[in-house]
Structures are given as structure tokens and as C-alpha cells.
Symmetry: C2
Subunit: 144 residues, 2 copies
């Protein structure tokens, strides 16, 4: 039996800088300002924890798709995905109940749209971020 013991660690820091704002940092990567969003008495124009959470799911589908498409030799010219997370009160506490991802893939001429959709769905099934969420993540691919 093969023992798959691989694991990876992701360290990150956040430092409060005043008001409801802080700086998120990952070693060797650009800093990112984060803040409480306006609807929770915070700030406009700054990434919120909510944005980061939804963007994590959305970007994970992209990176997983890129890997699967490469392995499958799928030819495409564009990938863009709109995501929307829904925050709702469940038993008196807020949580993201659903995230809907709408990836739009533009294929090279002659490529198989069915195969592309399959690869998107396979990518989502293997997305390690969705796997880590209680949130129901649904994918509605548009392939052209």
C-alpha cells in the first residue's frame, strides 16, 4: 500500500494598522491590505476576509483547471470566472452557505466543448479549497 504522506504548510501574517484595517503578508509575496467591509461597519475599496474566501474558491478552480487542461492537452485561449458567495445567518451565526462559480472557457477551433466542460467539473471535484469548505460550491461552466 502506498502511503501518501505529503503535506504542505501555508504561513501568513496579518498586522493591524489602525481603524478596521490591516496588512496581510506572505513571505516573498506582495502585501495585501485587508479590512472589515462596509456592511459590517468597515471600509470601502479594501479586500475583506469575505472577498478572500470567495476568491480562494474561484482561483482554486482556475489553477486546478489549468493543470487538468494541460495534462489533457486541451487548447483554449481564454478563461474567466465570475463567482458569488452568499453569506447567510444559520443558527444565529453568519456563514457562507453557497458559492456559485461561472467559469467561461474559450476554446481553440476544433476543440471539444464537452471534454472542456468535463475537465472543469473534474477540476472542481478536485479543488482543495472547495474540499476544505462547508459551503456548497456549485459550478456552471460556459464553454464556447
Amino acid at each position: 500500500m502506498e502511503v501518501r504522506s505529503k503535506s504542505y504548510r501555508y504561513p501568513t501574517t496579518v498586522r493591524w494598522t489602525g481603524q478596521k484595517i490591516g496588512t496581510s503578508s506572505v513571505a516573498g509575496k506582495p502585501n495585501l491590505q485587508v479590512a472589515t467591509p462596509p456592511e459590517f461597519k468597515g471600509h470601502e475599496g479594501i479586500w475583506s476576509p469575505e472577498d478572500l474566501f470567495v476568491a480562494a474558491a474561484n482561483s482554486c478552480l482556475m489553477t486546478t483547471f489549468l493543470s487538468f487542461a494541460e495534462r489533457a492537452g486541451l487548447g483554449f485561449t481564454a478563461y474567466e470566472s465570475e463567482a458569488e458567495g452568499l453569506l447567510e445567518l444559520v443558527d444565529g451565526k453568519f456563514m457562507f452557505t453557497t458559492i456559485v462559480l461561472k467559469p467561461k472557457v474559450t476554446l481553440k477551433p476544433g476543440e471539444d466543448a464537452g471534454k472542456a466542460k468535463e475537465l472543469v467539473m473534474k477540476a472542481e471535484a478536485n479543488c482543495l479549497i472547495s474540499n476544505s469548505m462547508k459551503t456548497k460550491v456549485t459550478v456552471e461552466p460556459i464553454v464556447s
Copy 2:
């Protein structure tokens, strides 16, 4: 019976820009480059979906703490939190099994360290990002 029907929507987009890299965007906020991390055959120096996920939990604890500390009238001069997410194979699929958050709070003279720790733990219990994760999120506050 009070019906709490409040809900919020968080839209975000990611657009592939080449290689294993894309641009994450939220309307009215700065764009953020995202990429597959090096350990999954991606790129150095760019935020990965994994970084976003861990940063979401870490920054949510900060913003929730800021709100609770304000309401409780707690005087503090600094807040910095190191976080580490552990990605492991579970039933053949990667997921974040644990995230450890180590918030360090520096109090104003005369403030009660016990009360500050309580506020941190209460903030974590109410963090909407942790609430949305399968990941076991633990908090180890350091108050001085």
C-alpha cells in the same frame, strides 16, 4: 419570532492571464495577482488560492476581534497574528485539515489580559470564515 433574513453577496472575478497565473478582482478594489504555487508546478512570489484561504481565516479573526474589542472598550496598541494552514491528503484528496492562528495583542497599561483573551476566543467563535470551513481552526492568543 424574529426572522433574521439578512444576507450578503460577495462577487469576485478571476481572469487567466497566461502560464498558471490570473488576476483576481473585486469591483472597486485593487486587483490581486493569483497563481498556482511552486509546490504544484506554479510560480514563486504570487498569492496562491491556499494563501487566500489561510489569510481569510486570519484576517477574519482580526476584523471580528476589532469589532468585539471596540464594543467592550478594550484598549490595545497592537494586534498581529501569525497563521499556518496545513494541507493534507484525506481519502486521496487534499484539504486544509487545520489552521492555527496565533494572535498577539499588546494592551494599553491597566487593561485586563484575561478579558482580552476572552474577547479573542469569542471573536474566533463568531468568525464567519471559520464557520464556513471544514478545517479545524485553533487559536492560541498571546496577550501582553
